[in-house]
Symmetry: C2
Subunit: 144 residues, 2 copies
């Protein structure tokens, strides 16, 4: 399979797994507070630009163009680090976010948007003991 | 459009945006340290089970089945909160992770997997002033 043409380091490109549209998700986290700010999408070139410019750059699925975060709003993300996960299909960006990350003006795209869980809170708060690993069945947690 | 059949609260189901396979990404974060542990995929039923059992449950794309994290390894994720993002296409799970989150034995799927950035480190460390917002152009940051 030929890889998509982009300026991305071929060693990184070889490790990437992309969806049918050539994209992969980027989880974006504030580097110091640990807040998860948002999730966006990248292709190889967006990752290349992010790594080389230090400004978080995504692929806009709705507009079909590259999107430098904050280009019009000023709410830039300065990149502190980028990591590729164990199976090469997700990146984690640690950034320094200028202003709110969300277009709604909220600091993150998840702020104030919690769903109600109906699991027993006392169970969760107490933290049940973990079920014992089942010997001989292997660890099937190797699938994202 | 009829919604997929699942036990999920219809009010939540109406807010969800799914990909062509009926899936959406779940970002998983350790609730107290803020570490991003992994990214997995859910459908409506996986989200329903996660909300009602308090154990993180995903859809395994490779095995084509529901996957209760830690079912075989013991490395369970006890759910503390679940939030849906501003455009309804990503969830953020805050969990209490038992043992390592990654099947490699690393605490997270991103640990030790940083890519080299070639942006000028002094620029990033100093934090350049944000570009001024362009008046009248609107904020196009409303696209994940």
């Amino acid at each position: 399979m030929s890889l998509p043409s982009s300026g991305l380091d071929p060693d990184v490109a070889r490790r990437l797994k992309r969806d049918a549209n050539g994209l992969f998700p980027a989880v974006v986290q504030q580097y110091d507070s640990g807040q998860v700010l948002m999730l966006a999408w990248m292709d190889d070139e967006a990752l290349h630009r992010t790594l080389t410019t230090g400004r978080a750059t995504y692929w806009s699925r709705s507009r079909g163009e590259y999107w430098v975060k904050g280009e019009t709003s000023g709410h830039v993300q300065w990149v502190r680090s980028v990591a590729l996960d164990c199976d090469g299909d997700t990146v984690l960006l640690k950034v320094d976010q200028v202003g709110p990350a969300c277009h709604t003006g909220q600091p993150t795209c998840f702020a104030g948007r919690e769903l109600v869980t109906s699991a027993d809170p006392s169970t969760l708060a107490a933290g049940q003991p973990a079920p014992a690993a089942v010997p001989g069945t292997g660890d099937r947690d190797d699938d994202r």
